[in-house]
Structure formats: C-alpha cells, structure tokens
C-alpha cells in the first residue's frame, strides 16, 4: 500500500482518539442531564490554558499540571451545571442550548482578556516513532493511548461502580429512577463533574498537539458535536466509533485533497448521515 495513504489512515485513527474524549464527555452529559453543552470545546480550551499556565508560567512539572487540570475542569463542569443548567432544567431545550452558547462567549471573552489572542505553545514534542514503513508523531501516539485509557476508565466507572450504574439507569429512564431511590439531582452533579473532567483530560491531550488561543475551541468544537449526533446523542459507544470514522474521513480527505476540503467532506458526510439515519449511525 502507498505509505502516504497508510500514514493518513494511521493519523486518522490517532485523530479519532483525540475526538473521542470530548465526544464521550458531551454524550455523558447529554445522556444523563439531557442538555447539550454548546460550550464544551471552550471548556477544553480553558483546560489547555490551565496546563499551559501551570507548566510554562508557573514552572510546574508537566505531569503535575496535567493532574491539576482534571479537578479544575471537573469543578468548572459542576459550576456550569449549578449556575446555568440547573435553573433551566424545566426550560425549553433551545433556551438551555442558547444559555450554554452564552457561556461559550463568556469563556472566549475571558480567555481573550486574561491571555490575549496570542498563540501559546507548550513546546513539548516527543520524537517521531517508526512503525514499519511510516513515521508517527510520538506525541500523537501518546495522546491516543491516553485517550483510550481515559475511555476505558470511564467505561469501567459506568459499568462497575454503584454511581456508574445509577448514571446509566437515569440515562435510560429518568421518570422511574427517582422512584427507585436515586436522587437525580445528585446524579446530574456527578455526571457534570465527570463531563468536565473528561474535558480536562481532552485538554491535556490537545495542548501537546495544538497551540492554545481563545478561539481554539472553534477548530474542533463543531466537529465534536457532529460526531456526537452521528453516533446518536447520548449513545457512548456510537459516539466512540463515530469519532474514529470522522478521524479517518478528515485525514484521508486531507490525503486526497487538502485539509480544508477534508472538513467540508466530513461535514457533508455528517449532513448526509443525519438525513439517512436521523437517530444516529449506530442506533439500535
């Protein structure tokens, strides 16, 4: 096979791993709380700034900055739920989405005011690795492995813990679960914190590959939403698979054509999927 195509395919899989984490986080929040966080990519942006600030400005070791980033973002997820989402739980879905859209502007604006619009780079690069005929960026490979570990940890949490079981149950039927003694308010809080934490993990993986600037969220936010919808909103496994599908489309599109057009192809593919299978590609 053409080594360049092979490289594109490999990069697609790696890219899919990067998309997967925010997709899982969004799906978790949507599945449980039934609200789309339109500002999810901006939460990731805040996390990227947190890592950059702690590592570059404060001189913390990178690992410590990563570990600190997760609780910060989990707290931010909680705050978002308490201040914005909870008061709107009974409002029409559109009002909820627009309010989180407002938070998108708040976070972008705050980042611009605090850090200016300069591009900030972490300046970490791992040596490329040779796999057979192709070279792979070591950073991307490490991020991919970390993303898979994060996804596996989330799966184990949902599958094997009591709280995780309650979260899955609420996602399936939010009327009956309160009758079974599960307090939905508490579950919403936990899901929001975990959703925020996943944004934090995604931030750690992205900050080593992308420069941070206040509008960086716009570069991967829209495609994240589309992947979620393609996999079926709230469907974790569907979203996970769709992330890799979209990663492959983007990277092979870049191989055949160019990066910009590959995103156009990916978005058109998304619209087509919605028309053909509105409930998501992997809906049962």
């Amino acid at each position: 096979m053409d080594p360049f195509l092979l490289e594109a395919l490999l990069n697609g899989v790696l890219l899919g791993g990067v998309f997967a984490l925010p997709v899982l986080g969004l799906n978790l929040v949507f599945g449980v709380v039934d609200v789309v966080w339109l500002c999810y990519a901006e939460l990731v942006m805040v996390g990227m700034y947190a890592v950059w600030f702690l590592h570059v400005q404060m001189g913390w070791p990178l690992a410590l900055a990563f570990v600190t980033c997760l609780p910060i973002l989990a707290a931010l997820g909680l705050l978002l739920h308490l201040l914005v989402v909870r008061p709107l739980l009974a409002a029409p879905p559109i009002n909820q989405v627009l309010a989180t859209g407002g938070v998108l502007f708040v976070l972008q604006g705050a980042a611009t005011l605090v850090f200016s619009t300069d591009f900030r780079s972490l300046g970490v690069e791992m040596p490329p690795m040779e796999l057979g005929e192709v070279f792979v960026s070591g950073t991307k490979l490490a991020a991919f492995v970390a993303a898979l570990l994060g996804a596996a940890a989330l799966w184990a949490f949902l599958k094997f813990t009591y709280v995780g079981t309650a979260i899955r149950a609420i996602a399936r039927d939010r009327e009956v679960m309160p009758l079974m003694g599960v307090d939905p308010k508490r579950i919403y809080l936990i899901a929001s914190a975990v959703g925020g934490g996943l944004a934090g993990l995604a931030a750690c993986l992205l900050v080593v590959q992308l420069d941070v600037h206040p509008f960086v969220g716009l570069s991967f936010g829209p495609i994240t939403f589309m992947i979620c919808v393609m996999g079926g909103l709230g469907n974790m496994l569907g979203g996970f698979l769709a992330a890799f599908l979209m990663g492959l489309i983007v990277s092979t599109g870049g191989f055949w054509w160019n990066t910009e057009m590959s995103y156009v192809v990916a978005f058109l593919f998304f619209i087509l999927v919605i028309f053909l299978r509105p409930q998501g590609l992997f809906a049962r």
């Binding site: 029409p92 859209g101 998108l104 502007f105 919808v229 909103l233 509105p278």
Partner: protein, 335 residues
C-alpha cells in the same frame, strides 16, 4: 390594514434622519443597526416557531459572496447582484431545509445540522481563496465616480435609505406571515408536529416556506452589509461565531415580537460601541464576555427578551388573567 400605519409612519420619520445631517459615526452605527436588525428579524422568523438555526451565517455569506463575486468577476451591478444573492440564500435554505423537514430532523438535531451548514460555507469561502480572498477577505471593486450609483456605492445617507427599505421589508414580511394561515399552522407544528400533520397541516411545506423567507431576509442583510462595508471576510459573514451573534441579538431583543430583533440590534451595537470606547484594545474580549453574560442572564430571567418585558408592562390585565388561570406569566411556546 391599520397595523401598517405605524410602520409607514416610522419609516417616513426615519427616512428624514439624514436631513438632520448627523455625524458620520452616528450614521454608520444606525446603518449597521438596521442591517443587524434585518438579519435578526430573519432569524427570529424561524426561531419563534422552534426552528432554531445555528447556521444563519451561511445565508449571509452565500448571498454576500454571490453578489460580490458577480460584481468583481462579471461586472454585474449589485442592484442585480443583491437580488440574485438573496435568491441564492433562499436556495441554500431550501437545499438545507427540504431534506431536514422531509426527514423530520428536529430540535437539537436541526440546530446541529444548521451549525454544520454554517461551517461548510465558512470553510468553502476560506478554501476557495483564489476567488474569495480566503480568510484575508475581499473588497468589491471601486466603481468610477460617475457610475457609483449604478454600482450601489453611495454616501452614508443613500445607504441609510437602502437599509431602511430592507428593514421595512423584513417587518412587512413578518406582518404578512402573522396574518396568514401559515403562522397558525407553524404554531401548531411547534406545539406538536404529529398532531399538526394529523389535522391536515402540510408540515414540510409550511416549515420550508418560513425557512425560505428567513434565509432570504438574512441573505438580504448579508449582501447589503458587505456592500455597505465594501469588505467581506468569512469570519464575519459565515460560521458559528456570527451565527451565534445573530441569535444573541434576536434573543436579547425578544424573538416573539416583530420589533424585538430591532431592539436587540440596538442593544448589541450600543454595547459594542460603549465597550470599544471603554476597553480600547481589549475590546474584543470584553465584548464577547459581556455578550455571553447577557445571553445567559436573558435565558435565565428574561427568555422573551426586552420586547417580552414591554409586552408584560403593557398588558397587566392579560397577566392578571393568566395568573388567575394558574398559567405561568410569559409562558414559552414549546420549541
């Protein structure tokens, strides 16, 4: 047609504004406000029936770039180019709307499909940089002074009248829609699509109709904005950013009242200018920050916008009645 009288009177009064010879800066703000109001009015035509679009930037962009490319490459005057751009925007609306409505893409899914469409237009404009100038933007060619009018390049006063006429067209369209059976049908559809279709409402057709009107008005706003500024770039005419700004204006002003988006445009422009003066170079961040805070506050405390507030002030009796009936004041049509 008694309701038309206030509109005609308002337009006549506003048409006299340039005669007061206000400073250029004020004129500029007023023209920008009118065109922003037009885009918001277009958005709210759909938004108030629960058809929330996050991609209206796409219609601004399609129309503006159609017009500007026709002028720069074929020398076609914007007097013809703007209508063609509006038709192109409506066509884009049909292209997007028909399959969506036919295949019952609603709610979150519809919002996200429109978001994708807005991004597609933004990326296409950027990618076709040989013609559109990409993200650096493009400038319509300057016409020679004697042909300026034919090329729709005139003074601030002239543009004020054009923008005023376009704005009035938007309000007129709103009124005509409200007086037609379509608005009743759309309210029913927003309430319950299946029930509406079971009583013989043609859901797809009604939704498509309002989408075409909405896209056309947004397209008109986009083309005129580009022509007025004599500058186009993908960020300000397509994509998620501008689409959300349109939504913000319409929501803040109030999307259930015809005058709401206009109030919203005045708020947006006023806010933007005072922040520009207050914050100087840090203006962009401060503007986004305040938009965001306001949008959240509006959603939390005033989902019907400023116009909704006025509505309630005006009709305390109606409020008392609804309160007596146990209804929530300012109840939202579900959407």
């Amino acid at each position: 047609m008694s309701g038309l009288l206030p509109l005609a009177a308002a337009v006549a009064a506003l048409a006299a504004v340039p005669l007061l010879s206000p400073p250029d800066y004020v004129m500029h703000l007023l023209i920008t406000a009118l065109l922003t109001a037009l885009a918001g009015t277009g958005w709210a035509m759909m938004g108030r029936f629960g058809l929330v679009s996050f991609g209206h930037g796409a219609f601004l962009g399609v129309s503006a770039y159609t017009m500007a490319l026709l002028w720069n490459f074929f020398g076609l005057s914007p007097w013809i180019g703007v209508p063609i751009g509006v038709v192109a925007a409506a066509g884009a609306g049909a292209l997007l709307g028909y399959p969506c409505f036919r295949l019952r893409v609603v709610g979150h899914y519809f919002a996200l499909v429109t978001l994708a469409a807005g991004e597609i237009v933004r990326i296409l404009v950027t990618a076709l940089r040989e013609y559109t100038g990409g993200s650096l933007g493009m400038t319509p060619n300057q016409a020679p002074p004697d042909a300026a009018f034919a090329a729709m390049q005139f003074s601030k006063a002239g543009f004020w009248w054009v923008a005023l006429a376009a704005w009035a067209v938007g309000l007129l369209a709103w009124r005509l829609l409200d007086r037609s059976m379509s608005s009743k049908a759309l309210v029913a559809i927003a309430e319950d699509e299946d029930a509406a279709s079971s009583i013989g409402i043609q859901v797809t057709r009604e939704k498509l109709k309002v989408t075409l009107i909405s896209a056309a008005l947004a397209g008109l706003a986009g083309a005129l904005t580009a022509q007025y500024r004599m500058y186009l770039n993908p960020e300000s005419l397509a994509g998620l950013g501008i689409s959300l700004q349109i939504v913000f204006g319409a929501i803040a002003g109030g999307m259930y009242s015809p005058i709401g988006p206009t109030i919203g445009a005045l708020i947006t422009i006023g806010l933007e200018e005072s922040l520009r003066i207050g914050f100087g170079t840090e203006f962009t961040g401060a503007a986004a920050f305040s938009y965001g805070i306001l949008l959240v506050l509006f959603m939390l405390f005033l989902p019907r916008g400023i116009a909704g507030l006025l509505e309630r002030r005006q009709r305390p009796a109606a409020r008392a009645r609804s309160a007596a009936a146990g209804a929530v004041p300012a109840a939202q049509p579900p959407g």
